[in-house]
Chain length 224, copies 2
DNA sequence: CTCGTTTTGTTCTCCCGTTCACAAACTCCT
DNA sequence: AGGAGTTTGTGAACGGGAGAACAAAACGAG
């Protein structure tokens, strides 16, 4: 079943992919502190995971450590960055410049990690004279030309829920193949398009569930 | 091993807990459309999951459906809301009123789902004269008194990374037992305190990884 | 050169979650 | 009343990830 792509077919488990950015950040922190070498134990502690899990995760990328010594911080950092793809620059479009869109446009963590916001779009004409984070807010009608011009493949949806699906469809039609969706809606997209969803109120509801259980049966919390 | 809490010990799997809010939202949507009854197939399609998984998830709560008929939308909605705990009101404190804090304070999805923002705190005195979403931005020094006054158990951290850990420790000391962390930092907290992390740039990096793989070997995307 | 120490990379086992498949149960029609 | 058609709830197989444990490899001391 896995014999479609014979070489370079390192199919890294999804759970590992989700942790690689965490390791990347931990390594950046170590590098800034002047650390040049670290053991899996140290790095795992910094990243907040088990050291065995960390070593297994890294082993999917290759053998970048030295037994008896550890990992070279800068070297490993580059290898992970290359594997994720953040050594190159990813142009990003943000649609929906409300409160959340503002925050995302101004978020410095994107730029510093290889993501460049190339355009801010909003369907509301009254927002089009605004300048946010040094960029003009432009009409949603400009989506296609912007995507074509900057070769954008990643789009961020920060619109109200009702608008999200129409925005997603038009993004896909324009050639975008990865969507980060902040609207509380289920998006159905064609195969080949990836969607990740961030839902703020769902996170709070999960916390509320556990909080409620703490109140009912205190002490049965730290079992797992 | 499971015989610690004899009754009411419905230990709902974590994966199921994370989906219950999704079902809740789907049911609310159906109810607004005037639907009074739905099958697991319909609800699953609305929520974007497999129908067998939906039925198994719901079975952890009890038998709230009718064979041959389906589920009563309003009844099931109430049961899930009660299980999660969103039938009651949860007071919430937000610390760090920058761009993201603004967006969170104004987010209407919290209020409509049983969460009430009772205070906005920031360490920067120059922000203390601001009014955001109808609330005064107050000093972080007021944390303890606010938590005590409103019986707050949920805190949201929207500060820069460097401040996050100190904020978390003080929250825990003040009596908060659930934290939603937007800062890109690993928080270590005592047992009994739940932390959920939302990291915007990590989500984008995961998308970038898949995007990069699409470019290298197109077609090996829709395997899984 | 050899031996002991350290740390990685990997194997093995266990557990959680997903999915299939089917029996139980309910409704509707004749 | 009885049978056909639906839909839930659940038992069982399956796959993937987490963690423990260990062998392989590198370094340093004597």
């Amino acid at each position: 079943m896995t014999a479609r792509t014979p070489d370079s077919a390192r199919d890294i488990p999804e759970a590992t992919v989700a942790r690689l950015p965490v390791y990347l950040r931990a390594l950046t922190g170590l590098a800034e502190d002047g650390t040049t070498t670290c053991s899996s134990e140290e790095l795992a502690a910094t990243a907040g995971v088990n050291s065995a899990k960390l070593r297994k995760d890294l082993s999917y990328l290759g053998s970048y450590g030295t037994r008896g010594v550890g990992y070279d911080v800068e070297y490993l950092r580059y290898q992970i960055a290359r594997e994720i793809g953040v050594t190159q620059d990813w142009p990003v479009v943000i649609v929906g410049i409300g409160n959340l869109g503002h925050a995302l446009a101004n978020y410095s963590g994107f730029r510093s990690r290889g993501f460049r916001v190339v355009a801010l779009l909003d369907a509301d004409p009254s927002r089009h004279d605004e300048v946010v984070a040094g960029l003009d807010v432009r009409s949603f009608e400009d989506l296609e030309s912007i995507v074509a011009e900057h070769d954008v493949s990643i789009g961020v949806i920060a619109t109200p829920a009702v608008a999200a699906h129409a925005v997603a469809e038009r993004m896909v039609a324009a050639g975008i193949t990865s969507i980060l969706n902040f609207a509380p809606t289920v998006l159905s997209v064609p195969d080949g398009v990836d969607v990740r969803k961030v839902d703020l109120s769902i996170e709070l509801q999960i916390l509320a569930y556990h909080e409620q259980r703490k109140a009912v049966s205190p002490g049965s919390e730290d079992v797992s």
